[in-house]
Symmetry: C2
């Protein structure tokens, strides 16, 4: 576990445990969006007796401390990834499942428009649609 996360935990009176280190390292090394179950499986490759409930509790803690981000990219499942310095948004291809990251500067004038017209402050957005490979022509190949 990097100095960053370790320090945050210890400063706040939490303890460093192998379980927490492993969950964090899995997320750092994968760089993907992982479900709790996927994280648990990868943790168990190195430490087989680690329990799902520990993984859930660890994720809950890391999310609370803003070290990990929880995202809903579809029904019935939560995905986790390391919280990055600069926030990002998601394009989700409904055909192949591919997920692409975009950043505030890719949003054009939408945030200003929503704030001006609706008084709504956009923080994170998810766009469902079809990616380049899956037919931008609406053909849903």
């Amino acid at each position: 576990m990097t100095h960053h996360a370790t320090q945050t935990l210890l400063e706040l009176g939490y303890r460093m445990t192998p379980q927490r280190t492993l969950v964090w390292d899995v997320l750092r090394q994968s760089g993907e969006h992982l479900t709790a179950e996927q994280i648990c499986a990868r943790v168990q490759e190195q430490f087989p007796h680690v329990n799902m409930s520990t993984v859930y509790r660890t994720l809950e803690l890391l999310v609370e401390l803003n070290l990990v981000k929880e995202t809903c990219l579809g029904p019935s499942r939560r995905y986790y990834e390391v919280e990055e310095e600069v926030p990002h948004h998601h394009l989700v291809c409904e055909h192949c499942g591919k997920i692409v990251h975009i950043h505030d500067e890719d949003l054009g004038n939408l945030p200003r428009l929503l704030e001006r017209e609706q008084g709504f402050v956009a923080e994170e957005l998810t766009v469902f649609g079809h990616c380049l490979d899956c037919g931008g022509d609406h053909a849903h190949p």
Copy 2:
């Protein structure tokens, strides 16, 4: 159940049943985003023995026929609403839970931007953030 939905079902060889009529009518009359459980509760006010599994199966069918839209507005729950002619998108306030509809013309240049820069065809988008009442000033009151 309106002529519209009835006809679609019958044309395709499905049968009209009181259960299907009730689910459809609940969705039409509410105009809100309802969970399967809420729909079932309202159906049971008029027809108490209707079962949850029937509601789920009915919703699955109506979604498949594009009569109802299923939306994921957060983890752990699916919401249903009547599919409208003109598609819409959602602003979800993470503080008070309020959901606002916006339409394509409220999106500014985002769809064109995504298509041009990412080759991504946006179909439906969900924006998480904070509504007017819940402090556009990031104060999260």
